[in-house]
């Protein structure tokens, strides 16, 4: 290890990160959470004791207990089971919306950052237009046109987050393109493709990882906000955002109705952020 490397890792350590290839405790926990969420999404009936839609009005508003770990909701449905069964839909909305957003952004951002002046100008203006429209306005109009539903919510969230990603990617590419490293590579006579592959993409994508992983949690939050406005998943879906917004009515009397779905949104965001950063570090080094 060179002196420079050791200094770097010392500083990195201070920023809550471990040495480049070692898996730290935080990352380990994040991986465990992610695995659990994945298992819930793929095989919910293995983990959940009850059916997510089975109502039992006599059992409504039960606080958490050995019978109902996370309590029950206004219809006596088991919240733990609903959260588990809701994982698939929620993660799918989060991941798909982020994928749509980041995918669109990558194309636009790369076109702008790498193409000629004219292309950059065109894409830049397009982004500005999308950006200038508040995301929620885009989502509201889109949902009003297409009608509410899973697909609509996902696309609406993806569309309204894309400009944000695109702008960051474009800025990053421009910044990297004008960096000494890339200039040196160009001077050394590397081809465009080589420069793109070796230097531009890895460096430009780095922040996209962080933002993209954050985006999953963000997208679930967005979907929840649409639910609050009455435009989310139709009932009785056990989607976390819908559960959060339905439980808000009973916040003072039944805190568990919002706490647990909310906790899972935060867990998802946290796990994907930590893992995303880990992956990114490995990709860069």
């Amino acid at each position: 290890m060179t002196l420079l490397d050791s200094t770097r890792s010392r500083i990195r350590n201070r920023g809550a990160h471990n040495g480049n290839r070692r898996v730290g405790a935080v990352e380990f926990i994040a991986a465990a959470v992610a695995l659990f969420l994945l298992a819930a999404a793929l095989f919910p009936s293995w983990l959940a004791p009850y059916q997510p839609l089975a109502i039992n009005p006599a059992d409504a508003f039960q606080a958490p207990s050995p019978d109902h770990w996370f309590g029950t909701d206004e219809s006596g449905r088991d919240i733990y089971s609903r959260v588990i069964f809701g994982a698939r839909e929620s993660l799918l909305i989060g991941a798909a919306a982020t994928a749509i957003g980041v995918g669109l952004a990558l194309v636009l951002g790369a076109l702008a950052g790498l193409g000629g002046r004219l292309l950059d100008f065109g894409v830049g203006r397009l982004l500005e237009v999308l950006f200038a429209l508040p995301g929620l306005l885009l989502a509201l109009v889109f949902i009003a046109i297409a009608g509410p539903g899973v697909v609509t919510t996902t696309v609406a969230v993806g569309l309204s987050t894309a400009p944000g990603y695109a702008r960051i990617i474009r800025g990053q590419i421009i910044q990297v393109r004008s960096s000494a490293m890339v200039e040196a590579a160009v001077v050394l006579g590397r081809s465009r493709a080589q420069v793109l592959r070796r230097h531009l993409l890895p460096n430009a994508l780095a922040p996209v990882f962080v933002i993209g992983t954050l985006g999953v949690g963000q997208a679930v939050v967005w979907a929840a906000s649409l639910s609050f406005l009455g435009l989310g998943e139709p009932p009785p879906a056990a989607e976390w955002g819908a559960m959060l917004s339905a439980g808000r009515t009973y916040l003072t009397t039944a805190w568990w109705m919002t706490f647990f779905p909310g906790l899972f949104i935060v867990l998802t965001a946290a796990a994907s952020t930590v893992l995303g950063r880990g992956l990114q570090r490995r990709a860069v080094s």
Binding site: L137, L140, Q175, L214, R248
Partner: protein, 310 residues
């Protein structure tokens, strides 16, 4: 000279953005099922008579072909006329004049608070070691993953109902602003904080920071002389976006805290299919965005000369 060209460029860009927003909104809203004439006559479910509908269609030019209507609207906009709101029957401009200031104040304060919180958290974690980093990172992630509507309700329950410190709804005074500003700022602070920390980390490990350390500068010196400035760049770039997201957030926050403002107007305008009002709100939001962007461009140039070279 270069500055003048840059300004002209920006101005042309702004005009283009405003035109494109108008066009998108006009056709977007017309794609939503529903008859604008009904929106004018008291909204859906109003059992307006055929005569009334016909009269309104003629009055508002709704019986013209869509393209003609579009150019009619563009023409009016060029003359600075935003038209009358379909649902409220008053000039859109006067509605906006009433509703814009409260939202601007709210969004601006929230943006400032978010910046302060994000910078504080990021700096603290850079200077105070691993424990601080884990805590602040956790706070940021949780903050960014909390929906406004939930946060708002929790804040009301804790600070208004249980503690009785702050009013739960708008009072017109400063005390009524605290909870809405905090509600809007915290999720944004979480988001900004994460992005800033990442840039700070990169800056702190960059060759020039290392060489500064070898020259014997203190960590504090490195942080304030180099890292902060670098952390600010993506943060500044994000501020334009952040402002837009605050307007989206204002929809929820203004509803819950019963504040007048652009966000609530927007929600209502879309549900009422009130085309002039939606266009008006969108234009104002777009204009605000253009201005904030121009400011953040300038700030970015000052913070990082490389950006200016492009």
């Amino acid at each position: 000279m270069a500055a003048a060209r840059w300004l002209l460029f920006k101005a042309l860009g702004a005009v283009f953005v405003l035109w494109a927003v108008t066009t998108l909104i006009f056709f977007g809203i017309r794609m939503i099922p529903g008859d604008p004439a009904e929106a004018i006559l008291g909204g859906p479910g109003s059992q307006a008579s055929a005569e009334a509908l016909a009269q309104v269609r003629a009055d508002y030019g709704l019986d013209e072909p869509l393209l003609v209507q579009y150019f009619m609207q563009l023409g009016r906009l060029l003359q600075g006329d935003l038209g009358d709101s379909y649902s409220m029957q008053v000039p859109v401009s006067s509605l906006l004049a009433e509703q814009l200031p409260p939202t601007l104040v709210l969004a601006f304060l929230a943006l400032v608070l978010a910046w302060v919180v994000a910078l504080a958290l990021a700096s603290w974690s850079m200077l105070s070691g691993r424990g601080a980093a884990v805590i602040s990172s956790g706070l940021e992630i949780a903050g960014a993953a909390v929906p406004h509507f939930w946060l708002a309700t929790v804040l009301i329950v804790v600070f208004s109902v249980n503690l009785g410190w702050l009013p739960p709804v708008n009072t017109g005074g400063v005390d009524g602003l605290v909870l809405p500003v905090v509600t809007l700022a915290l999720p944004l602070a979480g988001f900004l904080g994460q992005v800033m920390r990442e840039s700070m980390l990169n800056a702190a490990t960059s060759p020039f920071a290392l060489s500064a350390r070898f020259r014997g500068e203190t960590e504090r010196g490195v942080l304030f002389r180099h890292s902060l400035r670098h952390a600010a760049i993506p943060g500044i770039a994000l501020s334009g976006w952040a402002f837009g997201s605050l307007i989206s957030g204002a929809v929820v926050v203004e509803t819950i805290f019963a504040r007048p403002g652009l966000g609530r107007t927007l929600l209502r305008a879309v549900t009422d299919r009130d085309i002039p009002l939606v266009t008006g709100v969108a234009l104002v939001a777009a204009l605000a965005y253009v201005v904030v962007m121009a400011l953040s461009d300038i700030a970015e140039r000052l913070a990082d000369p490389r950006v200016a070279k492009r």
